[in-house]
């Protein structure tokens, strides 16, 4: 059984998660497996998938056995083990025998977030990473921002505030 996608929050998640049409094909190639992993959500930020996040480093298919190398975002991120379990469950659900390896070199960087992922984050209310801090409030688009704290509800985020609409928001830190 694939790990179920958490229930959408009206007006936010539903806007960005577009369910795929039709049944999934049985994975036969490594490309099929990448496709399958593209539907496994990050447990902390469910609008993006593990492939959007860039933490799946390699996929090797050998008969029914598949080796997937994942890299942690932050060393102590509690989501890492949950992500491993979710990937394993998704692959088992597709009739494969998964082996999950952890790979720390090269270290994960926010540069590996796909453009699609950045847009999904913004639509979800999280400012995507950029070199000099968030560029615009993810809610009202104002560039007038101030940092509240370098740390947020997960290791990968910081807390910022918009000086125009006065709303606090999460910023996905550059690393």
């Amino acid at each position: 059984m694939a790990r179920p996608v958490p229930a959408p929050v009206p007006g936010s998640l539903a806007d960005v998660i577009r369910p795929r049409r039709g049944p999934k094909p049985v994975p036969r190639t490594e490309a099929d497996i990448w496709d399958l992993l593209a539907d496994v959500p990050d447990p902390e930020i469910p609008v993006i998938s593990v492939t959007d996040l860039g933490i799946v480093r390699s996929v090797r298919l050998d008969g029914r056995q598949v080796r997937v190398a994942i890299t942690p975002t932050y060393s102590g991120c509690p989501a890492t083990s949950v992500i491993g379990i979710a990937i394993e469950a998704a692959l088992r659900g597709a009739g494969l025998e998964p082996v999950i390896d952890t790979q720390i070199d090269p270290p994960w960087t926010t540069d590996w977030l796909t453009d699609e992922a950045r847009e999904k984050l913004r639509a979800y209310g999280i400012a995507p990473p950029s070199a000099k801090g968030p560029k615009a409030c993810p809610r009202c688009g104002s560039p007038d921002l101030s940092r509240v704290s370098q740390h947020g509800s997960t290791p990968c985020k910081a807390q910022w505030r918009c000086q125009s609409c006065l709303e606090p928001f999460d910023y996905f830190k550059c690393i």
Binding site: S75, C77, P107, G152, S153, P155, K173, I175
Partner: protein
């Protein structure tokens, strides 16, 4: 013999992050404001995650079948190899953040060197950790400056913390036969060689925080060699290792 020194070195790396990570996790739910509570918990998470990598590798080098968890939870105080600085009790928030600041800058400089290590695993772990620790050092510097150059009360507390903690800074730069073996093998830099870079990072921030260094240069030692830990480590371990002590071998 080389592996014995490497094991010792890796325990020193992992015990620093483990003990400091546990110390700051003690603030969880108690910090003066929500943002600081979250920041300390996040820093603790990074450090515990790094501990997994350092002690995990230490266990492999030792080759006695001990895991990172075994090393963290089943050793007693005399087998720990952390610096005395990181086992100091939290005291007030200012004290905690000054301890963090004094360690973060050492940690950051040390990790930058370790990314060039001849030991590929050490270089990999350092490359992962250094990105996280850069954030730690940024934050603790900002907070030390804000509190030191803040109200009369915050300044008084920060100055008291500096007087109390400065005697533990000297140990960061002491070197022994383990360090010599690591320098010889190209694994790690001589800690003594990091002092100039440390002073260049720490002293201007302390000056900006309007804090005065104590004149006395006496340095407590004995943590990283395991020769003499302070009484505080044992008390901390009774909390940290409580579950394994009460229910030996217990697993999730």
């Amino acid at each position: 013999m080389a592996d014995a020194a490497r094991f010792e070195f890796l325990c020193r790396m992992g015990d620093n992050t483990l003990v400091l990570g546990h110390r700051i996790s003690e603030w969880c739910g108690h910090a003066p404001m929500l943002e600081e509570d979250i920041a300390l918990a996040n820093t603790a998470l990074d450090l515990i995650g790094q501990t997994q990598m350092w002690l995990g590798y230490a266990g492999e080098v030792e080759g006695a079948g001990r895991s990172a968890d075994d090393l963290a939870m089943l050793r007693d105080a005399w087998d720990f190899r952390n610096l005395l600085l990181v086992e100091r009790p939290n005291d007030d928030f200012g004290h905690t953040i000054l301890r963090q600041f004094l360690f973060d800058h050492f940690h950051l400089i040390q990790l930058r060197h370790l990314t060039e290590s001849s030991d590929a695993r050490v270089a990999e772990i350092a490359a992962k950790a250094v990105k996280e620790v850069a954030y730690h050092a940024d934050r603790s510097s900002d907070t030390v400056i804000a509190l030191g150059d803040g109200s009369a009360e915050s300044h008084r507390r920060m100055q008291a913390a500096l007087v109390a903690l400065w005697p533990y800074v000297g140990e960061l730069f002491t070197a022994d036969h383990v360090d010599a073996a690591m320098v010889e093998a190209g694994v790690a830099p001589n800690p003594a060689s990091l002092r100039d870079a440390y002073d260049a990072a720490v002293l201007p921030a302390l000056a900006q925080a309007t804090l005065k260094l104590p004149e006395d240069t006496f340095a407590h030692t004995g943590g990283k060699t395991g020769f003499r830990h302070s009484e505080h480590l044992g008390h901390m371990l009774t909390q940290m290792q409580w579950l394994q002590r009460a229910y030996p071998g217990g697993t999730w």
